[in-house]
């Protein structure tokens, strides 16, 4: 069943008399062409917001064997082809299950844009009924003096996770933290909603896509609205922030991640696909589109290599290392090479340091056997610093996305300590950016947020010796201290590097994820990355006897087909500093992050130079609620 969000179907006022006489007037939501008007899907969806000049595709889907004879697609009453000055193309495909395919007619405009701000209504009349959506073209901002934008994303990061990391890293004595994170010192603090087109629960693809485009997407989709056609690359596209600032302002673009660089969050900077799993295509997308980021740093070498070599995952036989090299990239493959690359910044740098996702801080620094042969991987701080050294050479400015990917990848399998290590490292990378900006480019906006949350929370502490010595489950439960009995964990950071000297102290956090499979929990650091549940003989997930065998048995709180914790609904934190930061000190939708970054640099895609004209006047908006303190409160 396709998702038809926010769609309005109203009876057309312009139905010809003949049609009225020959057809029943169908109710809203008619399901088949046989007994009513053809269901219509309009993409982009209702309430989509745009910047003028930003390009996007329109796709109208109409169920049926052929286009309705009365088909009319209008924008504010004018034929859409006239409004956009472009002709559409028509395609046909089938949607739904193979056993009951539904024919679909698709009418598509590629690469159109709005010339000016304002509200627009798109109406599609088909089989005598009209479906409409409203789109809002926002007025570009004058800009706040920012030249560069750095977007830090800790994947799957929440206030509860930040707090747990702060306790472990900074220490808390008599209720006060001994020192703050750099994140804590950001002047603007807000919240962002994360839901997508198809679900209240989002994934990293559509959430990161919203941050990078200002448009909602669906689970697994990047830089595009989800249509019903089988192809994943033909879904109607929206321009990304990186594409806009490169095309219009000549800014540089950088991508830094600890995941595969083709993973959902980094891919959202530049990719357009319905299916985030198309990582081989995503790896080639910059070469194929011509949008070549100046800096690409992360993991995922497997996606660059043809599958004819061991470990390679490309069925097309291309060796993308060779192709990126031919496109002018310097290539580095370990931390040592990365360090030298920063000393004499190349024009373009591609640094991949692992076959897949890079190892987390805890495994790169404490349980180093878990790295396997990848013993010289850089951390997020080194990658961020090198990216800034290269990107900072562009006087037009840059957009850098930095992702702490394994905050999410570790709390999925309920591995609290590996998550915490990467949050501490995330803060260190932000601190590096702050120091770089203060010294080199104070006109840099830094935005810090997450794409979605996880159901993690700390509720006390655990006396490890008592827990491990307890003869039974009630005894282990009694080792959990609540309220005053919790006291404080006993992590020590004598060397002051922000990371505990010993990850196995006598008193650790009692912290859990509220959605999980059957598993056991001992609250203590695991020397290997956790796999809490495994598939049983019938495919249902059951406790992994090798994981926390000394732990408390936990009854599953989710379908037995789920092997690990999942994303949650909660709003995620937003922090910002630098010019334009105040925009982010609010309750936002995740799509607003895109518009806030654009506002900070005064991005006007409808201007020839991409800069909002100095004489542009933002339209007055009448308050339809209560004006209090200069803010319009509505209900």
């Amino acid at each position: 069943m396709p998702v038809l969000p926010h769609r309005r179907i109203v009876a057309s006022v312009a139905i010809p008399v003949l049609l009225l006489a020959s057809m029943p007037v169908s109710p809203v939501g008619a399901q088949s062409p046989g007994d009513g008007p053809a269901p219509v899907l309009i993409l982009p969806t209702d309430r989509a917001a745009f910047l003028p000049g930003a390009t996007f595709d329109i796709r109208i889907e109409i169920e049926g064997e052929a286009l309705p004879a009365d088909l009319a697609i209008t924008v504010d009453g004018a034929p859409a082809a006239d409004f956009f000055g472009a002709e559409s193309t028509t395609e046909t495909w089938s949607k739904g299950p193979e056993t009951a395919p539904v024919p679909v007619q698709g009418v598509t405009w590629r690469g159109v844009s709005f010339a000016a701000p304002g509200s627009h209504t798109v109406e599609v009349t088909a089989d005598g009924a009209t479906t409409s959506v409203d789109w809002n073209v926002l007025a570009p901002s004058q800009g706040a003096g920012a030249r560069n934008v750095i977007l830090f994303i800790a994947d799957g990061w929440t206030v509860a996770e930040l707090t747990a990391a702060r306790v472990i890293s900074r220490g808390n004595v008599e209720g006060k933290y001994l020192r703050p994170f750099t994140i804590d010192q950001m002047p603007a603090v807000g919240l962002a909603h994360t839901s997508g087109l198809d679900s209240i629960i989002t994934d990293s693809a559509n959430a990161a896509s919203a941050l990078n485009t200002g448009h909602k997407a669906a689970v697994n989709a990047l830089g595009s609205y989800p249509d019903t056609s089988p192809a994943s690359a033909d879904d109607p596209k929206v321009e990304t922030f990186a594409e806009l600032v490169k095309r219009l302002r000549g800014m540089s673009v950088g991508i830094v991640t600890t995941a595969d660089w083709t993973d959902a969050t980094p891919a959202a900077v530049f990719a357009h696909t319905r299916r985030r799993g198309d990582q081989a295509d995503i790896a080639a997308a910059p070469l194929d589109s011509g949008l070549l980021p100046e800096v690409i740093l992360g993991g995922g070498a497997n996606w660059m290599l043809p599958e004819t070599v061991e470990g390679g995952r490309r069925a097309d036989g291309r060796d993308l290392f060779d192709e990126y090299e031919a496109a002018g990239y310097s290539i580095v493959t370990d931390a040592t090479e990365l360090a030298t690359a920063g000393a004499a910044p190349p024009e373009r740098l591609l640094g991949l340091f692992h076959s897949g996702n890079m190892n987390v801080w805890l495994d790169r620094n404490v349980f180093t056997d878990n790295q396997g042969s990848f013993t010289d991987q850089p951390g997020l701080v080194a990658m961020t610093n090198t990216a800034l050294e290269i990107l900072g050479t562009n006087e037009n400015g840059f957009y850098l996305m930095v992702e702490a990917a394994s905050v999410d990848k570790q709390i999925h399998p309920l591995d609290v300590d590996r998550m915490v290590g990467d949050i501490i490292e995330f803060d260190d990378a932000i601190d590096a950016a702050v120091r770089w900006a203060a010294a080199n480019a104070p006109d840099t906006l830094i935005v810090i947020t997450a794409d979605h949350g996880h159901g993690f929370e700390t509720f006390g502490t655990v006396d490890v010796e008592a827990f491990n010595a307890a003869a039974d489950i009630p005894g282990k439960l009694d080792a959990i201290g609540l309220y005053a009995d919790a006291g404080f964990p006993t992590y020590v950071d004598a060397d002051g590097d922000g990371f505990p000297d010993d990850w196995a102290p006598s008193r650790v956090l009692a912290a859990l994820v509220n959605n999980h499979p059957e598993y056991t929990e001992d609250f203590q650091v695991s020397s290997v990355p956790r796999v809490p549940a495994i598939a049983g003989a019938d495919g249902s997930y059951i406790d992994n006897p090798d994981d926390d065998p000394n732990g408390i048995p936990m009854t599953p709180t989710m379908p037995l087909s789920s092997s690990q914790g999942v994303h949650t609904l909660q709003d995620v934190p937003v922090f910002a500093g630098g010019p334009g930061a105040e925009y982010f000190g609010a309750v936002l939708d995740n799509t607003d992050i895109f518009f806030g970054m654009a506002a900070a640099i005064g991005l006007d895609p409808s201007a020839a130079d991409g800069i909002t004209p100095a004489d542009a006047v933002a339209p007055e908006v009448a308050c339809e609620g209560v004006d209090f303190g200069g803010v319009c409160f509505t209900r």
Partner: protein, 193 residues
Amino acid sequence: MSPTTRVPTFRPTWLPGLIVCLLLAGCVTAGTSPTGEPPTGTPPTGGPTSSAMVEDRTVVVDHPPTDASGEAVPLSFEEFYDGYDIRTGLILSDTLRSLAGRRVRMEGYMAPPLKPDLDFFVLTRIRMAYCPFCSTAADWPDDIAVVYLTQGTMRATDRPLRLEGVLELGARRDEQTGLLSIVRIRADHIEPL
């Protein structure tokens, strides 16, 4: 039911007709031909196998296989690779190369399978929560082996396994499942531990 169950082997003594219960409650129907394998290599039908087991474009076999039906050589996941070159991929160890086409014995775990009755599965070093067929983009470890049953099927299990069979080597994509593999074992003997 015996906890140690022999899947029909290459040898004539195990030829079709047998129905052998395997593992837990599962049964093997001998004579059922494996379906999870593209028709590239010559299916082992008995007697010593030859280098036809190894695809043309795969690694050079330093020691041509001569005794595929002989004593199995123990092989661990740790012995698979000598590391990974970012520009050229996994570096196959000399040990692994020398065993191509020969009988090996391995221990490991069955990765979460796609269906309960299996004619092939992924053998992993540690217990895994990921299903390699459910998401081709899953963060799958490099040190895995795809196990093809030479005959019959077996039930999915979460128990540790010991198996014996002939080692195939070289990057190849399974046409039916899309699964990429480097190390494959055509197993004629699988037992839970």
